[in-house]
Structure formats: C-alpha cells, structure tokens
Symmetry: C2
Subunit: 411 residues, 2 copies
C-alpha cells in the first residue's frame, strides 16, 4: 500500500508555522506499514492545491491525505481543490452544515452573526458523495474516492487534524487500505552515546542488508535513531549485535523518547525528580511535563537564569559565583543540590552553560555547558563542549542532561 | 523568481524528526520575495530523491534547494541523486576532501580511522563543476547549475543547514536569483485577541483584494498571523483599518514573536521578570530564554508542578491549596506573588491548570487554566477554558499568558 500527503498552507510553506500534521500522518502511516512516497507542502492557492493533489496521485498511490485549508475564510480552498482534482462537484452537505452549526454552539466563537453563518455554509461544502468527518473544532473533514485512490481531507489546526484522522481511520475505505498494509512498521531503536561513523563500521562488518534487512540511521542531537525493516529474526539478530557492540546504548525499543524512559525509571523506583535550569531556561521541565502523568514522578524545578535566582532559590553561595562564575562545575553541583533541597526531591538534574551568541569570555566559550545529576548516593558533574548556534546548544544540552539522568537512574 | 525545496530524509517523512530546514529556507525565500511553489519531503532512496528533484524542477523554477542526505553513511545519497537529475557525473573534489578532513580534525569525532576516511571520501563527492560550500559540521554543500535552474545542496542537521545556506546566498549564481526577486517580502502582522470570523468580516467589508492587495490569514493558538502583499500604500491603508477596528490587537509588525515583544517592553522599562509555571512545566521560560540576550530582563522562574513545590518555593499556603485546589485563581495569584518575592522580580506571570488527559474533576474539567500577571501596582487573574489535547492546552496557555503579560507591560 502506497500513500502521499499534501500539507496546505502558505504559512507552513513559508516557514511561519511549523508543520505538525504531515509529521503526524507520516508517523501513523509508517506504523501501519503503509509506504509513504512523499509529502508535498503547498500554499493556499486553489491551483497550487489542485496541482499538488494531482502530483500526489501520480505514481499510483492507494491513499492521499490532504490537510489544512478548511477554515471559514476566503483563502481556505482545499475542499474545492480536492473536488476538482477528483472530478466531483462541490456541494453543501446538510449533515455537514448541522455538524458545523452544532460545533459553533459548542465552541464559544465571537464574531458577527452574518459572517459566522456564511463561514458555516462554506465549511459545510464537500465533494459530492464524500463521507463527512465530524469536526473537533468547527471544520468537518471528508473521505472521498477518486479512481481507485482514497482521498482523506483533514483540518489544519493540529489537534483538530489528530482528532479527524482518528475518525478517518474508522471509515471502511480507509480502514481497508491500512489493514491491507499489514502493519509492517519498522523496528525503531534509539541509541545514545554512539556516533554515526561507529555505527557505520558495524554496518559494514555485518552487512545486514545482504540478508534482506533495510537499515535506516538518523543522527539527532545526542542520539542515533535506527529503523530496521522488516521487524523479525534479522532485526532481532542485528539488535543483539548492536547491544554487544554498544553495551547500554539502546535506551528505547518502542519509540519512547528519553523523557518517557526517565519517567518510567523514576516510577519503577518510586522516586521523584526536580530540575535546575539556567541556559536551557525550562526546556527540560517542558519536555518532562509533556509526558502525560508526569506529576507521579516530577515535582518541579527552578529556572535560575540570573545569578540572583541561583543564590536566592538554589542557595548557590555568592562567593562560589564570584570565584568560579555561574558557568562552572561547582555551581552546577550546587544548583543540583539546591533543587533537591528546595523541592524535597530524590533526584535532580542541573544545567548551566553559555548558549550564545553573547556571554562568552576567553576562558569560557559559547557551547561550554556543565551538567550535574544528583540522587541518593550519586553525584556527577559533566563538562560539555557543544557546537552550533543558540538553539542547537540549548536543545543538545537538554538532551544530554536527560541521558545522564537516565543512565544514573538505570544504575 | 520561482523556487522549490526538496527535504530528504525518511525520518522527516515518517514524522520521527520535525522538519526545520524546509521551514527555514521557506522563510528566507519569502523574505527575499522569491515565490516558493512547493516543498517536497521524500525518503532516503536514491530514486525517490532523484524523482523529487525532477518534480521540483517541473513548472520552470529558477532555484531548487535540496537539504539532507550528505552524511558519511550508505543511505546518504543526495549528491548522487542531484548529479543524476542535473545530468552531471559525481566526482571526488580535492578541495571538498580537504575541507572534510579539516572539519574532522576540528570537530572531535570518535570512530575507527578506516570508516572515517571512507566517510570523508564519500562526503567529498559532488556533481562535476559544482561550487563547494565549506562544512559547518563535516558535510560540504554544493551549488550547481542545470539547464537554467540553480540547484543548492545543503546538509541536513539544522544548524549546519543554516550555516551552509548563509554561504550559498553569497555564491554569485544564487545571489543573482535572490537579487532579481527584488525583496518583495510581504508585510507580516501578528494580532492577538481577534478571531478569524471577526477578521473575515473586515475583509468582506473593505475588499482590499479588489485593490490588488493579497491578504493571507493564519490562525495560530491565541494569535492571528496576517500577511499583506505587496507591502506599500494599500498594505498601509489596510493595516490602519485593522488598527481602527481592533485597537491594540496588532502586537508585531516585523515578524517578532510575543516573547521578543515582551523582552523589548521590559528592556524599555528597565524592569525584570520571573515566571511560575505549573501545567506549562517550563514552556514559558524556554520560550523567553530562546530570545538572545534574555538575561537582561528575565531573572528566572519556578516550575511548581507539585503542591509541595508551590508551597516550599512559592510560599503558597497549604490551607489555600486544600481549600481552593492547586488549579484556582487564589493559587495562581499566590504563585505570581511568590515568584516575584523569591526572585526579586518587578513582574511575574503564573500559570496553573489541567492539561489532561488525567487530573480532571466534575468541577474542574481538562482545559481549565488560571493565569496571573503581577507587577508594580498591577495584579490580574484570568480564568481560561481551553479546548484540545494536552499539547494544545499547554501551548495555548503559555501563549495567552505571554499576551496578558505583554498587555500589562504595554499599559
């Protein structure tokens, strides 16, 4: 089974809004074993969308998923474009209109009545014969068949898109494609502390591709993500080989991120965590609390961006800040101790560093970061020298800190 | 001038890694006035990339930018695909090899020597006649012409891609395309507190498109982003109309996000900010510290995810937590007061809420959020009822809190 995705929206194309829907659909299709040929991002123009939908059809795909451009305004033209590309007329669907009107009652929306009514009628237009998907927000989605290809149309706001996709999967013609794909999702391994060239060496020596295993490798900040297709005996054998060569490096076999793994380890131990962040400014806390149920093992943290905050909330002595500077091993250690004490936590992780572009000195360059992990009978400070721009240094520091914590928790 | 972008990487296509490069290139092209026709995301397969590059060429574009797949491993095949699509042979470039070898000396890379050397030779292969771009990491990029179209090839890791794109812009054939586009970047307005249907009403009444102004509108969580093309007298007139209809709603005219606007307002006042976050878990701190130079106006904050943290660090009385619950107006107010006091800040913003999926009660549903903004002579608590899933509720709560702070700072 082959599929293509079309993401519409000039704001996505021009980089003002990050695509979430294409990524979400891509992940779901991959998990179902559907081969995704390409994702095409296009602007809001009617012709652009129609051309992209036609381009998506090309090469013979079983499923096309189109997202975005279902709003009430004049530049929301996806339904019209899909109707044209699939050779159907655009009609006002009474059931869709009732759904939109009910949604407008449910979700408090301001605005003049006439404009809302006109918007509702526009949002109720779908290609003739389409299955209408109930709106999570105000825009219904649709499923329509065109010459052997199933076309799914979903709204653009990411949470509405996620909800509508869940509904779309239940529509028989869509379910048939997903079922026929047979769930050949790849084995997904995540590894930490292994660089690409080391991995490549193992690949060269063992030649798993010669035995029919397709190995994909992607370097992420501080991590390697490895996909093995198909899952099965060859994937098992290669996984075992990686374990032997890089003991402890595989930290996830089910797609879970390091935040989730940290949470599981803490929950198993019945212990709780606090954070102390300077250059990462809350990124670690935000990532940890992105995991539903984090309150079972995360107490909270301190963003000690200024020296005053480090002193007042985390009890870092002024003399230590004066002598060693805020970006130093001793301060990272005291931040971790201070966070444990202030929040009554079993474990803590602290980060202080220079993310740039300003703030560097001759002794302390941009990219110098100290991480401390502290817990029962455990205290460890690590100096990092990171490369890249502000965003990369911050993201990478947060990821490495989470991995040091994970390793400490795993014993 | 017209352009297309190709983003390569199975990990991007299948949603395991978020695309950053396509968004970055799209934003730069839009700012230069280049019309971006589409961005195509494809997997790592040689044929997929070659087909996508050919597809990108179709319709007659002046510039094609291809990112990713320049690493040392076997599945990094972009240069080969670009060479094939542009009818050139792939050759080992001595200058590129020297650059890669120098980069390997500079950046500490582990791994066996033979694998590194083979990786270096692979990364030094470019289409014959290409201009080689020096690597920020270890992979050189390239610029090559193919039948009137300029093809720019950039590495995949986002910070390397950003650096290589800056170099590529200086290459004469690329500079010529960007210059010829004439910088027709759109006027970009950001508005808060206006819903799409209200905006649509103004659009219908004033019909700026009838006078040659192309208006794009994109709803983001808590914000509307409006683009006006071309910038000029009609854009000015429409901007003035929006100001009259929605006083104070336009908070940015230069693409700056609300975090940057908050920072500018604080810097102008010479005052400093602290944060207190519960359900947002550090997202507000992370967003504020994403602004370079944030230390001039942001002291830090407390992620008070647990009741204990609210009590211990922010001095929220136990009796108040017992009586009102952690998600309540009084607790939000005390969190804001506690953050001001603990960090010695002039201003503070506090957020407490139920992001779900767990944690709701009959009285307190998922999506109930309290925000408090406190400052000199100012204290304001707002109750929000947000819709959507965990991620949307958190993101939206953070955005709304930043806007309430901005409004308070703007007076």
């Amino acid at each position: 089974m082959r599929a293509a995705v079309v993401v519409t929206g000039t704001e996505v194309l021009e980089g003002r809004v990050r695509d979430e829907n294409g990524a979400m659909i891509g992940a779901h299709l991959a998990a179902a074993g559907v081969s995704l040929t390409r994702t095409i991002v296009v602007g809001d123009g009617l012709d652009d969308i129609r051309d992209a939908v036609r381009l998506a059809f090309s090469g013979g795909v079983d499923l096309v998923v189109v997202t975005g451009g279902l709003g009430p305004t004049h530049d929301d033209r996806t339904m019209e474009a899909v109707a044209r590309a699939s050779g159907r007329s655009l009609v006002e669907d009474p059931a869709a209109l009732a759904l939109v009107q009910a949604a407008l009652e449910r979700v408090p929306v301001r605005g003049p009545h006439a404009a809302r009514e006109r918007g509702a009628r526009k949002q109720a237009q779908v290609p003739e014969g389409a299955v209408v998907l109930p709106p999570a927000g105000t825009a219904p989605g649709a499923v329509v068949e065109a010459g052997g290809t199933v076309v799914v149309v979903l709204p653009g706001p990411p949470w509405e898109c996620r909800a509508a996709w869940e509904d779309a999967r239940q529509v028989p013609v869509v379910a048939r494609v997903l079922d026929a794909a047979g769930g050949g999702a790849p084995r997904e391994l995540r590894m930490a502390g292994v660089v690409e060239s080391e991995f490549m060496q193992v690949l060269d020596e063992s030649d798993p591709e010669g035995r029919g295993l397709v190995v994909g490798v992607c370097a992420r900040p501080g991590e390697l993500e490895v996909t093995l297709r198909p899952p099965g005996p060859e994937a098992d054998a290669f996984t075992a080989l990686l374990e032997a060569r890089f003991p402890g490096a595989i930290f996830s076999r089910d797609g879970a991120g390091v935040e989730e793994v940290v949470g599981r380890l803490l929950a198993e131990r019945g212990e709780a965590l606090a954070t102390a962040e300077s250059c990462t400014g809350g990124m670690i806390g935000a990532r940890l609390t992105g995991v539903a149920g984090a309150s079972a093992w995360y107490l909270g943290g301190v963003v000690s961006y200024s020296d005053d905050a480090k002193h007042a909330v985390l009890a870092v002595p002024r003399s230590m800040l004066d002598e060693h500077g805020a970006v130093s091993g001793p301060v990272a250690r005291q931040m971790a101790r201070g966070a444990r004490a202030a929040l009554g936590a079993d474990w803590s992780v602290a980060v202080t560093g220079i993310a740039g572009p300003g703030g560097a000195t001759a002794q302390k360059p941009v990219g110098l970061v100290y991480v401390c992990v502290a817990g029962p009978g455990h205290e460890e400070v690590r100096e990092l020298r990171l490369h890249g721009d502000r965003e990369r240094i911050r993201t990478r520091a947060a990821t490495i800190a989470l991995h040091l914590l994970r390793q400490a928790l795993a014993g």
